[in-house]
Amino acid sequence: MSPAKVAAGSNPLRDHRDKRLPRIAGPCSLVLFGVTGDLARKKLLPAIYDLANRGLLPPGFSLIGFARRDWADQDFGKIVYQSVRERARTAFREEVWRSLAEGIRFVPGSFDDEPAFDLLAATVRELDEQRGTGGNHAFYLSIPPSFFATVCEQLERSGLSTPADGSWRRVVIEKPFGHDLASARELNAIVEKVFPADAVFRIDHYLGKETVQNLLALRFANQMFEPVWNANFVDHVQITMAEDIGIGGRAGYYDGIGAARDVIQNHLLQLLALTAMEEPVSFGAEGLRLEKEKVLSAVRVPDDLARCTARGQYAAGWQGGEEVLGYLQEQGVAEDSRTETYAAVRLDLDTRRWAGVPFYLRTGKRLGKRVTEIAVVFKRAPHLPFAHTATEELGQNAVVIRVQPDEGVTLRFGAKVPGAQMEVRDVTMDFGYGRSFTESSPEAYERLILDVLLGEPPLFPRHEEVELSWEILDPIERFWERKGAAPEQYPSGGWGPSGADDLMRRDGREWRLP
């Protein structure tokens, strides 16, 4: 008997039936730019600890922070420690912390400083020698896009972007991927000049959420949903992402960008693509991307943009028991700013499956509560064999996929009200993620960071998708810029401007109360 064969991609210790076996990343390090930012402290650093705690990071894993601070390694260690203690999802374990802390390094420097990048290159080399990171390094650019060019050039100049044989270098960038089609192309050119296309990971953290992947399971693993998932049965689809917060201190970033570019272009159009796409031939990266691109290319922007879009700005008011400022009064926002904090659009899909089914997308800040959901609303039954009075309170059936918070799925349908009279009223049936599985959902960033380190791209949007979504949004933005009136003011803590309600009313529909 000869020993089992071992080759690249064929490991006798792995077996697709072995579902217990964790997918542990190969030897590598993560270089984090922008460690002092909110995202790093609140999400990325805790996610890295949680991965380590779940035993999914390789032995010798190292974390290098890069920022304009005169800090030593242990100062950065303190920052990591602090955010782990405050934010990590899993329990704190001394041995996990110590083993993670051994791999923590810090490189002081600004983005245009050559010696700083030489120091980074030297640090990475030392880690390869001391901790066996094997020349595999991921660069996470948690920094404003205006610095991408500088950082990418520096990475190239210092040789950091070029892997040796048998190792990899990857770059991770966060949205926004540009502010229109032209700038997205320009940004992409900058990054792809230095890193090959398959080494660029664009993070849209919504795609890492369990629910989004569950949407694929719901649609394609079940028999009962797909037959009605089309224009024969569906009346319309509403995709909502509401935030209860204002812009906070991000006026510099937000003013001039607005809700549509910030949210619709990436999150909502990705959710639309996953809701509307055909069944992919496989769930590999390529299969998914093909279908998403196909459906995005079928999106038609309505001709009459004045009637099919709405936008607004939050006005001062009371929200959740707190008095809040209006957008125009926020620090750093021009008094006559026309940037919208609420945007709603109607889109149509030119496919056989969805002909005549409008998709309504809306997003806004300072709305009633924080919620993201996809509601597929069905047509009314063609005939109701009841007295009119019996079904007065019956609405349309709906499947609602709750992306956050309280991830899950709600079904809405009619049921008889108990009593002697025949009366049908809407009821809901609820599936909650947290209540049905013996495992709590990992944070989106855990999944995404692990996928970057494993080099598995299915959940990351490709550049073509980014371009397609700008092609959808650009005409709308142009229209708002040229002909649109100033954004309508809407009271904080409500559900947006009356113009958005009018948009729905014109079609004889109304927004769901999420």
């Binding site: 008997m1 020993p3 089992a4 071992v6 690249a8 490991n11 006798p12 210790l13 077996d15 039936r17 579902k19 217990r20 076996l21 964790p22 542990i24 190969g26 030897p27 380590a52 390789p58 032995p59 010798g60 894993f61 304009r68 601070r69 005169d70 800090w71 030593a72 390694d73 242990q74 260690g77 303190k78 420690y81 602090q82 704190f92 001394e94 996990v96 912390w97 110590r98 083993s99 802390a101 051994e102 791999g103 810090f106 002081p108 420097g109 400083d113 010696p115 700083a116 030297a122 030392e126 001391q130 901790r131 066996g132 094997g134 048998g166 209540r435 049905s436 599985f437 013996t438 495992e439």
Partner: protein, 378 residues
């Protein structure tokens, strides 16, 4: 809340349960599965604790069948725990005495959740053949624990192997998952060479060591030997031999940090904690499909493992197993070399770093550190 129902019937327990649920409002919570725990009086409390922790995030109904004395009159004592005393789950303790002690199945049947999976767990002594046990027959998943069984674990493993049926699993197997993950990840990397021999060093009383060795034998199709270290030391090390050298994964017996040594790479350390029973049980509840890999390790691999006559220290001296002392030294050296390393208490005591973001100062710092790095690298 704890409600005692001495000398009762299952119908009364069931009715009381429904009433409690509606009174406390826990009605709205869906329950994921029924976990049946079969245990003796003296181990019952510890088992309930583990089951509660394992099902914490996801409420289950836990039916604890406590086997009392078989002598005397048949009698059923019930106890219901909900709310604070049961975490997220609801616990029903059923103490069976007299002739009833042999009819656990009749007692739990009316209390099973409708249309949800059933998991049976024997925290201490399991049946000879779990799938033929009256309670085991009902369950989709049957969890035994060879390490806790009063019978010698080799006998237990042999019986489990002979009577294996889909859905059987053992906590001794869940305890080695992290080890398996690290070994598999090591073979994912080049050089891609077949493993020609493997040696596992594990405690005399550790069925986990045997299952790990069995898994390696079944998967790698190479000679696998098992050397024995002293009792209660768990799994100490695994060595995989390949033509370019050995892959050594070592965890000193009281440590939580392992070292991984491979030719051409510096020694790497990783946290590798002993897993608690609750974690392992939660793992078992996560998947309810047959575990074919466990089956293979238990029924095929285990027979091929040669039990070495060498003790752990003899195996190390003979060059068959990696040195534990050296692994400990390396781990300490790496820890000292890392400046950011430190216990949480040390980091806790440090002040938050100042916001030293003056451009010139930062520039100077990076230039200084660069020249230091160049010196280090010569």
């Amino acid at each position: 809340m704890i409600v005692d129902l001495p000398s009762t019937t299952t119908a009364a327990v069931s009715a009381r349960l429904v009433r409690l649920r509606s009174e406390t409002g826990s009605m709205a919570l869906s329950r994921v599965l029924t976990l049946i725990v079969v245990v003796d009086d003296e181990d019952a409390e510890a088992a309930i604790d583990v089951a509660n922790t394992a099902t914490r995030q996801h409420p289950s109904r836990i039916l604890v069948v406590v086997l009392g004395s078989k002598r005397g009159a048949a009698r059923l004592d019930g106890q219901i725990r909900v709310g604070g005393d049961a975490g997220a789950s609801e616990v029903v303790v059923l103490r069976l005495c007299g002739a009833l002690a042999s009819h656990g199945r009749a007692v739990v049947t009316p209390l099973l959740l409708a249309d949800s999976p059933i998991v049976a767990w024997w925290p201490v002594e399991g049946p000879r053949t779990p799938s033929e046990d009256p309670i085991g027959v009902m369950a989709q998943r049957r969890v035994t624990d060879a390490a806790r069984s009063p019978t010698a674990h080799r006998t237990v493993l042999r019986r489990l192997a002979e009577g294996y049926a889909n859905g059987d699993t053992d906590l001794a197997w869940s305890r080695v998952t992290l080890w398996r993950g690290l070994l598999a990840a090591a073979l994912d990397q080049p050089p891609y060479e077949p493993v020609t021999a493997a040696t596992v060093v594990a405690a005399q009383d550790s069925p986990s060591g045997e299952l790990l060795a069995g898994w390696l034998a079944a998967r790698l199709r190479c000679p696998v030997s098992l050397a024995r270290s002293r009792n209660r030391s768990g799994i100490i090390s695994v060595r995989l031999e390949r033509s370019s050298g050995t892959v050594d994964l070592v965890r000193p017996h009281d440590g939580n940090t392992a070292t991984l040594t491979q030719p051409g790479h510096p020694v790497r350390t990783i946290a590798l904690a002993h897993r608690s029973d609750a974690e392992c049980l939660a793992d078992e509840l996560r998947r309810l499909d047959p575990d074919e890999v466990y089956e293979e390790a238990l029924t095929v691999g285990l027979k091929k493992v040669s039990i070495s006559k060498l003790s752990a220290s003899q195996a190390i001296r003979a060059g068959r197993a990696p040195s534990v002392a050296e692994s400990e030294r390396t781990a300490r050296r790496l820890r000292r070399a890392a400046r950011a390393s430190g216990s949480s208490a040390m980091v806790e005591a440090m002040p938050m770093p100042p916001k030293a973001d003056d451009a010139a100062q930062v520039k100077e710092a990076s230039a200084r550190r660069l020249s230091e790095a160049k010196e280090r690298q010569g």
